[in-house]
């Protein structure tokens, strides 16, 4: 038995050690730094209480980023889930080559936010604009990325292109696990297609919706890579009479704050992001789980 205890400790050691070094220690330092005057240059870090958090509520760029992130998250959750649910219906239908389409819709997920951002920047700023010029379509002649009121929607559309194929896979797996007998019964009862989808399919997929909403919620909230290379926060706009960047989501605001050596402030923003994300996703999962039981 003594030998087995040694093995236990040895087997756990690599993961536990890296976990402590990479996550636990930085996490508590992170909480502490958010309450200091840390600037990333000076080695002396002094405690400042909740000053950074208080300042956040009067900082236009943070408030704007916060609100726009929530707006982006809502738009994105709707876009991604509607599209991916539609795709999942298609690739489980009688359409020919459905497995080929299923594989194809997933491809954009593989390429990563950085590369994807450049590709779409080119498409939106060059290709669409040049189509607009050549065919004299006025609304295409200015890039959707250059207008403050279209940029967030465009980002959500690009994110949907990347993410829908992945969420689709979750819905497909869920559809395939529904007992065929249930659908057969509905068919015999003469329920039409939309009744079958809304009254039987969707309630049976409740668990998949919980997962998909959680995934889209958390990834939208932390969106960074695509934001950086697609818009880099632009274009400029005004909020509370202050100049702000129209598409600068929270994660990018944190990044830019830290790049300007306002490390403690960036850390305070990150802590707010953490708390909000934690609360919102807990609410989402609880509500969804309750719905799952009801259904």
């Amino acid at each position: 038995m003594k030998q087995s205890r040694v093995v236990n400790v040895l087997f756990l050691l690599p993961c536990v050690f890296s976990f402590i070094m990479i996550i636990i220690v930085p996490f508590f330092f992170g909480l502490y730094y958010s309450m200091t005057d840390w600037n990333g240059i000076s080695n002396v870090v002094t405690f400042a209480g909740f000053k950074n958090f208080r300042n956040l509520f009067s900082s236009a760029d943070f408030l704007y980023s916060f609100l726009i992130t929530i707006a982006y998250t809502v738009i994105n959750i709707v876009f991604v889930n509607v599209v991916s649910f539609g795709l999942s219906l298609i690739v489980t239908s009688k359409v020919k080559r459905r497995n080929f389409y299923r594989a194809g819709f997933f491809v954009p997920y593989l390429i990563g936010g950085i590369v994807l951002g450049y590709i779409w920047q080119f498409i939106l700023n060059n290709i669409l604009v040049s189509i607009g010029m050549n065919m004299s379509i006025p609304f295409l002649q200015t890039s959707f990325l250059s207008l403050p009121h279209t940029v967030i929607w465009t980002m959500a559309a690009v994110n949907t292109w990347q993410y829908a194929g992945y969420i689709m896979l979750i819905y497909v797996a869920s559809i395939q696990s529904i007992p065929a007998s249930l659908m057969e019964a509905a068919n015999v009862d003469g329920a039409n297609y939309s009744t079958r989808v809304f009254k039987i399919l969707i309630p049976m997929m409740a668990n998949a919706f919980t997962i998909s909403l959680f995934l889209t919620l958390t990834t939208s909230f932390k969106q960074f890579d695509m934001n950086l290379t697609l818009t880099n926060g632009g274009p400029a706009t005004r909020f509370l009479d202050m100049p702000v960047k129209a598409s600068q989501l929270l994660a990018m605001d944190i990044f830019n704050t830290a790049t300007a050596n306002r490390m403690a402030e960036a850390q305070a923003k990150a802590v707010v992001l953490f708390v909000v994300l934690l609360v919102v996703s807990l609410i989402q999962v609880t509500v969804n789980k309750r719905k799952e039981v009801e259904m």
């Binding site: 236990n8 087997f11 690599p14 993961c15 536990v16 976990f19 070094m21 990479i22 996550i23 636990i24 930085p26 996490f27 990333g40 795709l87 298609i90 489980t92 239908s93 009688k94 359409v95 497995n99 594989a103 194809g104 819709f105 997933f106 491809v107 954009p108 997920y109 390429i111 990563g112 950085i114 450049y118 590709i119 080119f122 060059n126 040049s130 194929g165 992945y166 896979l169 979750i170 797996a173 559809i175 065929a180 659908m183 057969e184 509905a186 068919n187 998949a208 997962i211 932390k222 960074f224 890579d225 929270l250 944190i254 990044f255 830290a258 490390m263 850390q267 990150a270 953490f274 934690l278």
Partner: protein, 296 residues
């Protein structure tokens, strides 16, 4: 992944016309999804002038693709080939340590039902909700301080970033292995122990080979993430350090050749090609892995 055929006849849309419309609509959607890739390929085979002149036209000479590719690989500012090599090493080593160490840890946590094993497991699970943004800056500072204390360079080196990927990757991986190992009957190990097999050997000779299907899942989930990851390499390796990764090289490249879309698009093409080629061959496993990883 199960074949979709089983279910279809039971509930799906039927009727010749409806199905024909759906068929056409699907093809349209599929093309819509693929157009961006097509645009990258088309414009990677053009000169900068050609792109500005007409971004949608077919390239006048496909040889330009080779010219652009060689321009990128022979570029003086960004060592693309080096980044490619480093990215491969980092992804490979990270995957190896994550799979081996996470499965070891998960096995111990499953087979020892004590208070502390529950606490350790819950700590791993709880940590998954912490966003990277909270950890990233303290992590850099902490790795610099602790690295210099132990006399190891953790920043700017491959071992350093692999160690970080083990830390970030193991919680989810342990969670996935944990769920799988729970369902392996304990009797298998018992008989091995009776035969005089040591605990450590029991794991590697009996349990580890059984994990093969779930290892694929762990590899794919972590592989896609690590290969495409940007922020962690940027913070730990720096944007012009000795060790580089593909996403960093692409951004440095785009930063140095502002709006030179011929080169930027060719560099994105080179960045995504390996993943897509891999996907063509391992498509079945990748789809299955992604589904299992997210549903668990």
């Amino acid at each position: 992944m199960k074949d979709t055929r089983q279910l279809n006849s039971k509930w799906q849309v039927s009727g010749r016309t409806t199905l024909a419309i759906l068929e056409v609509f699907t093809i349209f959607l599929f093309i819509l999804f693929m157009v961006p890739f097509g645009m990258v390929v088309l414009n990677s085979a053009k000169t900068s002038k050609e792109i500005i002149f007409n971004a949608i036209a077919l390239p006048s000479d496909w040889k330009q693709l080779g010219v652009n590719i060689s321009l990128i690989f022979n570029n003086a500012t960004v060592d693309y080939l080096g980044a490619f090599f480093d990215s491969t090493l980092i992804t490979l080593f990270s995957l190896i340590v994550i799979v081996i160490f996470s499965s070891m840890a998960a096995w111990v946590l499953v087979r020892n039902k004590t208070v502390w094993s529950t606490v350790v497991f819950l700590a791993f699970v709880a940590a998954m909700v912490i966003p990277f943004q909270v950890l990233m800056y303290p992590l850099v500072r902490w790795l610099r301080v602790s690295g210099s204390f132990f006399g190891i360079r953790l920043l700017g080196t491959i071992p350093g970033i692999v160690f970080a990927y083990l830390g970030f990757g193991s919680p989810l991986s342990i969670f996935i292995f944990h769920g799988f190992i729970k369902n392996i009957p304990y009797e298998l190990e018992e008989s091995a122990t009776i035969d005089g097999c040591s605990r450590g050997r029991t794991f590697f000779a009996i349990i580890f080979p059984l994990l093969q299907p779930i290892i694929v899942t762990v590899l794919i989930l972590n592989g896609i993430w690590i290969w495409n990851d940007y922020l962690l390499p940027l913070l730990l390796l720096g944007s012009n350090g000795v060790v580089q990764t593909i996403p960093i090289a692409v951004t440095s490249f785009a930063g140095a050749y502002l709006k030179q879309w011929d080169l930027i698009l060719t560099s994105t093409l080179i960045a995504m090609l390996p993943v897509i080629v891999l996907y063509l061959f391992a498509q079945r496993y990748i789809i299955k892995g992604m589904v299992e990883g997210s549903i668990k």
